[in-house]
Symmetry: C2
Subunit: 364 residues, 2 copies
């Protein structure tokens, strides 16, 4: 059967290996598997959210309120933005997909950093668009701006903080790019890890309301990371109503589940959990920095809930990742991103203990 030809170019996303697979493949006992590969919140699910889910468990047969009235109201209050600037997605991922589908086609192009979130390319390829990347893996305005001027891409992706490297853009760098952008170029500012950056250094913190000053900016946020709802698939986009109306044309009805909607509404009012997540992270990340220094390899200063260790010639990230996996520790190898590096979610004290112990074993 014939299918649309732009599909030929699509690589599918490789998800972090599930714990069950490591148990099956390497015979590690499930309780000994530590997964630090998907940037899930090591604090777990907020007890308040878990209570909401239990209270709604017998409502699984009911469709959610498709207007998402209550969640939009909560987000509108939290960010001080009008409700018509909001769209809710099944993860901020889904809003990336909508953005790709409203702006891109076979003659379009997109611009992104050399190393950044894999879904930008995948969604752009689904539309048959041309992928342009800057030379550096850091987001550098001096590389973005000339390429924007030369190619007039339909979408520019700024992932700040950036996944999978963990670095972030300074506020003024983001605004520099926005100021230089063509109003027909959609500038996506993906703040999936923004809560961690904002808590670390206000120079790296962006408010969605500031981006609404620009007619062509789309801010993305998520409940998957600091809010601990990765498995529930809820994210949001904030942009001028003209953009939101276009994205809404592609939103399928009931795009988040009844339980996800209830969970996100509770999470919105659960700042204590976010603060505790950030506190745990700050307490633990120093250990990863110290371990790298001790072992003589590099790390990227992190503005996220994970850290990226960069190896020199003495170590091969794929070999280290594989050796860790066989011992039941799942992390993310960045070889396929062209980096000799590992991305590791900063876990609980116990999970991190385990990772360091297994690393010691592997490195000898």
């Amino acid at each position: 059967m014939r299918f649309n030809k732009e599909l030929d170019q699509i690589k599918t996303y490789e998800a972090g290996k599930p714990i069950e697979l490591v148990v099956r493949e390497f015979g590690v006992a499930p309780e000994d598997v530590v997964k630090l590969a998907s940037n899930e919140n090591p604090l777990g699910t907020s007890p308040r959210v878990a209570e909401t889910i239990r209270a709604h468990a017998d409502k699984a047969h009911l469709y959610p309120d498709d207007s998402m009235f209550e969640l939009k109201e909560a987000l509108s209050r939290r960010f001080g933005v009008p409700e018509e600037t909001l769209i809710i997605g099944a993860g901020s991922d889904q809003i990336l997909e909508f953005a790709s589908r409203v702006k891109l086609n076979l003659s379009a192009s997109v611009l992104m950093s050399r190393v950044t979130f894999a879904m930008y390319e995948i969604y752009a390829r689904q539309q048959g668009a041309t992928i342009l990347r800057t030379e550096d893996w850091r987001h550098r305005p001096e590389q973005f701006i000339p390429m924007m001027e030369e190619h007039r891409p339909e979408i520019v992706y700024l992932c700040t903080p950036n996944n999978p490297t963990g670095d972030a853009m300074r506020r003024e760098e983001v605004f520099e790019i926005l100021d230089a952008s063509d109003p027909e170029t959609l500038v996506v500012v993906d703040g999936a890890y923004m809560e961690y950056a904002a808590a670390k250094d206000p120079d790296f913190a962006l408010e969605p309301s500031e981006l609404l000053e620009y007619p062509n900016a789309l801010y993305l946020g998520t409940f998957s990371k600091a809010y601990g709802l990765g498995g529930m698939r809820v994210g949001y986009g904030i942009a001028r109503p003209e953009i939101v109306r276009a994205l809404m044309k592609l939103r399928p009805p009931f795009n988040i589940t009844t339980l996800s909607l209830a969970a996100a509404i509770t999470a919105c009012g659960d700042n204590a959990f976010v603060e505790e997540s950030i506190r745990l992270h700050r307490e633990q990340i120093g250990r990863y920095e110290a371990y790298a220094r001790e072992r003589g390899f590099d790390y990227i200063e992190s503005y996220t809930n994970f850290i990226t260790w960069r190896f020199g010639e003495e170590l091969d990230s794929s070999e280290v990742a594989d050796a860790l996996l066989r011992r039941g520790v799942i992390i993310r190898d960045l070889a396929r991103y062209g980096l000799n590096a590992l991305r590791i979610t900063v876990g609980t004290a116990e999970q991190n203990d385990r990772l360091f112990a297994v690393m010691d074993e592997v490195l000898g």
Copy 2:
């Protein structure tokens, strides 16, 4: 900002009005609102599923197993089909979207019945395809086949049982259309309500394994109706591996939630709940047929969990729907489908009592 021009034609789906809205707009007490508008399972959530959800409530921070190994295994066993013929979607809706995106573009066309599930048209319009419809609201092979031969549509939609009319195609009618189809035409057989049809009359029951005989058939099923998981968004597609591989290219990672995956796995083994749902439905639907006869209006013989009442000139479906709504009873008016008819989910005995009492009030 400019957007892809095919978006100009898109109408968005109108979801059934949520209970909260009726409370807000008409001042009806929440406990007095009866919603029979969205074909949700009146039995509620299966107690076994609710227990699974409660047991997984503290796993909301974890991404689901993206291979959906266990759910695919369960479906593979249930239908006697190989796992590589299966794809899981956020509702069968999402698989409709994938199908539309793999086959359609600005020069494509799709064929469907005059009155059928609204999302077929919406997803086709998102791709800019031309919409063709048969003259009759029933699915008639003698209307489908000549139009297929004339227009060679990229997709043909057979919704059986059909939503929003409730009628179904005989097995041999489906096979007649498949036999006459061009192998390049994807024939989508949407069996969202198949469990109800199969329980009523084997002449209307299709098995996915039979459709795998055809290189161009895609069967869709869902957990939203007989399995009572409407709010969890889980559906599935079954087709030849070549088709599944193409659809999989558009599946975003983690397209169903961690709790939805767990719920669907439990639901798969919960036949007692499905049987009880069907039993309740059969016990109650006769009351709707009798009420229509008593009041002198028509109904469409139903193979689903809802019934469609058709009015003659003496009644206007929009007026009746509105009068019911003001009294707190939410049903679906089919005026926008070109029918002077109401679609009503067959509820519990108590919900149906309420509907008949309010209808008596409205009709006088």
